[in-house]
Amino acid sequence: MLNLSIAEALDALAARKFSAVELTDAHIAAVEALNPRLNAFITVTADLAREQAKAADAARHAGDAPALSGIPIAMKDLFCTEGVRTTAGSKILSPFVPPYESTVSAKLKAAGAVMLGKANLDEFAMGSSNITSAYGVVENPWQREDGAKLVPGGSSGGSAAAVAARMAMGATGTDTGGSIRQPASFTGIAGIKPTYGRCSRFGIVAFASSLDQAGPMARTVEDCAILLGAMSGFDARDSTSADQPVPDFRAACAHGVKGLRIGIPSEYRVDGMAPEIEKLWQAGIDWLKRAGAEIVDVSLPHTKYGLPVYYIVAPAEASSNLARYDGVRFGARVEGEDLIDLYERTRAAGFGAEVKRRIMIGTYVLSAGYYDAYYLRAQKVRALMLRDFNEAFAKVDAILTPTAPSAAFAIGEKMDDPVTMYLNDVFTVPSNLAGVPAMSVPAGLDARGLPLGLQVIGRHFDEETVFAVAGALERAAGFTALPSVCAGAKS
């Protein structure tokens, strides 16, 4: 039961092969067995999940089975959930129980999804390893042959680990610079960052408003499509949410790539890229060619500025977005002599080192005298990167790249220098900066048995083509490997 895809489970539920309660109980048992080790969930909501599963069964009996009726999922702990503690992976929100529900989680609830709990993440979604969480590191269910414990990637590392280890059938993530795709790649699952504006940001704890985008993570491309269908749609409460129709993403997965033009950007062949990554990329190109796509060389000349631009824009917005965590109205507070002292003590105790680093960077780049040199220039380069994509998409229907420059690394590696860590996002940040949809598909294993993903980037609001290409890659790759820590493998 735990190894089923969402699509298979929906069929089985419809055929009454098992109930939503049974499906949920199996997943709760998996969470209870594996979470103490993997730490994928900050908060487990077993009772709530059973209630929701019961309600899903009752609704199905009454003839009402919405798109995700009875499907147990993990909710990244960045989505505010009414009555369920929401921490954003930070100490400063440790006592915070939102009195409201994020639009995305509300839509999933309305679609009948069952929430197993709140998934661990890097603090305020700032990180590529899940090491910055105030609630402990998440362990990747995949193990390296040397036995080292690996990071699941980040920031949606808890979501990725939960899905990969079969604790949840799917999960929500958010992606500001790669936070869905990189952990998906590190844990051998699929994940899509949709077009900026596709999913409402209302009720999602903000990291960098102009980059943040919610998306699904699941074990198959089709499951991502099913989840995204339920998560998407215009929301009047988010001014940047797009008033666009939600197409049939699921149907798009089977469209195939015959006649599609797939762009290969030369700029993504970065120095020192692992030969295995290079090899996998070539395999992807061959698969798509064989499936009837035309491969076209494209140029995204400003790619090399992606990381510097990202590490100016994202901290700038974050430094402002995180100003509200001041201990005055909600969250943790450390009392002080006066107001300023209260601010300083609260924020010193409440934020971790990486969050503080980014607040400092963001404050610096927005300061008088530095704004023009950093923030303004970054915005100009960002506009050029968008132009790069628009020009490329005049020639091709989608772009294929690796998702990350390496497989998952060990907990403790890449820790000495934050810049080394930031390099993880080199292939993923450009699509956030341009707002285009991008998806990671598990495509193979490296020499040490670790999963690697390929990334498909599409035009604005053309997730359908992304799903079509990702679907073709998935079929060609035939990725069936299981992580070493995996609930489904035993059953």
Binding site: T86, S239, L339
Partner: protein
């Protein structure tokens, strides 16, 4: 422009610019659905957006945008079809988000003008630099508790228009006239109630001084002045302070100051060096505000007649003087009252009555035109009684007094108290006979050429008739009886 401050080194000119913060009249806040009523219980009009809760996002209130556009149109200003919101970042307990959403580089309204009228009768055109929309902060109360400050977030997120003038003002009087005129325009438009007592209009005042012909010298900004009188006092106090500094060989430092009305002086709040670095950047939660030209055109056609147009029309249509019409247009209700009464009547007479006895009666009873005890219809009816000779002007003044006191209609008062004018020539003749008979000596003097005594006889006859005699008929009959005065 003769106003100067006399220093030891001669006269100094003033250069004044005003930033007026006007609270927008709207049912809900600029970026949330919370209500905006003044005087509600603390923290009862606060949404999660206003309180800066995690994951909350601003959504622009269309009506607030319309109000800003209407105001821009009313100030003859350019409406920017594309404007943008920025974040102004600073920490304070009554600023829940840690930033204020404002418009920094691209305001919704650009250059405009306001014509102000001065007591000398001169009119000056004052430039408007810009108008932008921004959200208000909450209110900190430091005097409610021994050791704590209390925060009321009801005002947090309420829409403000910041209206910035060019440094075109040269005297405290002009600054006062500018704020009054701006307030009148905002009230006509229905975009701000202009109530400075309740804080729905506040001014930041920029002041510098210079010698004639010089460029601008360093200015100081006096924050949050909340009455027109204080604005004028603050300007004068600040200008004198600056003159003293310059003349004693010092240098005025650019800084933010506060006006202390009790001491009549300004004092330093923070210097330029201590100024906040607000780290403005474009608000990523909001798209650029793009306005539709057709929508603006529609708003324009729906604008009410504005004070300047109304004033010109009152002068042209009713033959009023510039002074009279200026007074009537100050408040829309006054102008409406005048027009209602003047319709089909002698407008000049209506103006005289309103500016004279009617306003005097309102002042005396502490009423305003909104809650006047005398309706426009009743005042009109009173004037009609004069025109059709039912009563004379003197009696009419008495009737007005009774109307103010009792709220009765003039007809009822005249009937009930028998104040109807006497036009019966028999009664007039009889009264004349009685007066002449009682004053043989005065008659003799009159006959011998003391013409001035004719007025004495008119007065005595009117008195004998309890004031109700028709003045023209009394005059005529008296002439027939004792002869017209020779002069």
């Amino acid at each position: 422009m003769s106003y100067t401050i006399e220093g030891a080194t001669g006269p100094w000119e003033l250069v004044i610019g005003l930033e007026v913060h006007a609270q927008v009249i709207s049912k809900s806040k600029l970026f949330s659905g919370a209500a905006t009523d003044f005087g509600s219980e603390p923290n009862t009009q606060v949404s999660f957006v206003d309180a800066g809760f995690p994951g909350m996002l601003p959504v622009i209130n269309r009506e607030c945008v319309a109000q800003a556009v209407r105001t821009g149109l009313g100030l003859n200003a350019r409406i920017n079809l594309v404007s943008r919101f920025d974040r102004k970042n600073y920490f304070y307990a009554d600023l829940p988000q840690g930033y204020q959403i404002s418009q920094y580089e691209h305001p919704i309204v650009g250059m405009g003008t306001i014509d102000i009228e001065l007591e000398s009768g001169e009119t000056r055109s004052i430039g408007i630099t810009r108008l932008h929309l921004e959200q208000d902060a909450g209110k900190s109360m430091h005097d409610q508790h021994a050791t704590k400050s209390l925060i009321d977030l009801n005002r947090s997120g309420v829409a403000l228009m910041e209206i910035v003038s060019e440094p075109d003002l040269r005297t405290p009087e002009e600054a006062g006239a500018y704020i009054r005129k701006l307030r009148t325009i905002l009230r006509y438009l229905g975009t701000c109630d202009g109530n400075m007592d309740e804080g729905s209009m506040r001014a930041d005042v920029n002041v510098s001084v210079r010698k004639a012909g010089e460029d601008f010298r360093t200015r100081c900004e006096i924050k949050n002045v909340n009455s027109i009188r204080f604005v004028m006092q603050a300007i004068e106090a600040e200008a004198r302070r600056q003159v003293d500094i310059w003349e004693s060989g010092g240098e005025v430092r650019q800084e933010t100051r506060l006006f202390d009305p009790a001491r009549g002086e300004t004092r330093s709040m923070r210097s330029k060096e201590d100024a906040h670095d607000y780290r403005y950047f474009p608000e990523p939660d909001l798209l650029p505000l793009v306005l539709d030209e057709a929508w603006i055109a529609t708003l324009k056609t729906q604008l009410p007649e504005l004070p300047d147009e109304k004033r010109a029309r009152l002068m042209h249509e009713f033959g009023l003087s510039a002074y009279e019409s200026a007074i009537f247009v100050m408040e829309q209700v006054t102008a409406d009252f005048f027009e209602t009464v003047a319709k089909g009547r002698d407008a000049k007479q209506v103006a005289n009555w309103m500016l004279g006895d009617f306003f005097a009666a309102l002042n005396r009873t502490g009423r305003s035109i909104e809650n006047s005890p005398v309706s426009a219809a009743d005042l009109g009816a009173l004037l009609d009684l004069i025109s059709d000779s039912t009563i004379n002007g003197k009696i009419a003044k008495e009737v007005l007094e009774i109307m103010v006191e009792t709220g009765e209609t003039p007809d009822a008062i005249v009937e009930a108290r028998g104040l109807r004018q006497v036009t019966d020539t028999g009664a007039i003749d009889a009264a004349i006979d009685r007066v002449v008979a009682a004053n043989p000596d005065k008659l003799a003097e009159y006959k011998s050429g003391k013409d001035k005594l004719f007025g004495f006889f008119v007065g005595q006859v009117m008195k004998a008739m309890a004031g109700k005699g028709n003045p023209a008929l009394v005059n005529e009959a008296l002439k027939a009886k004792i002869g017209a005065p020779a002069g």
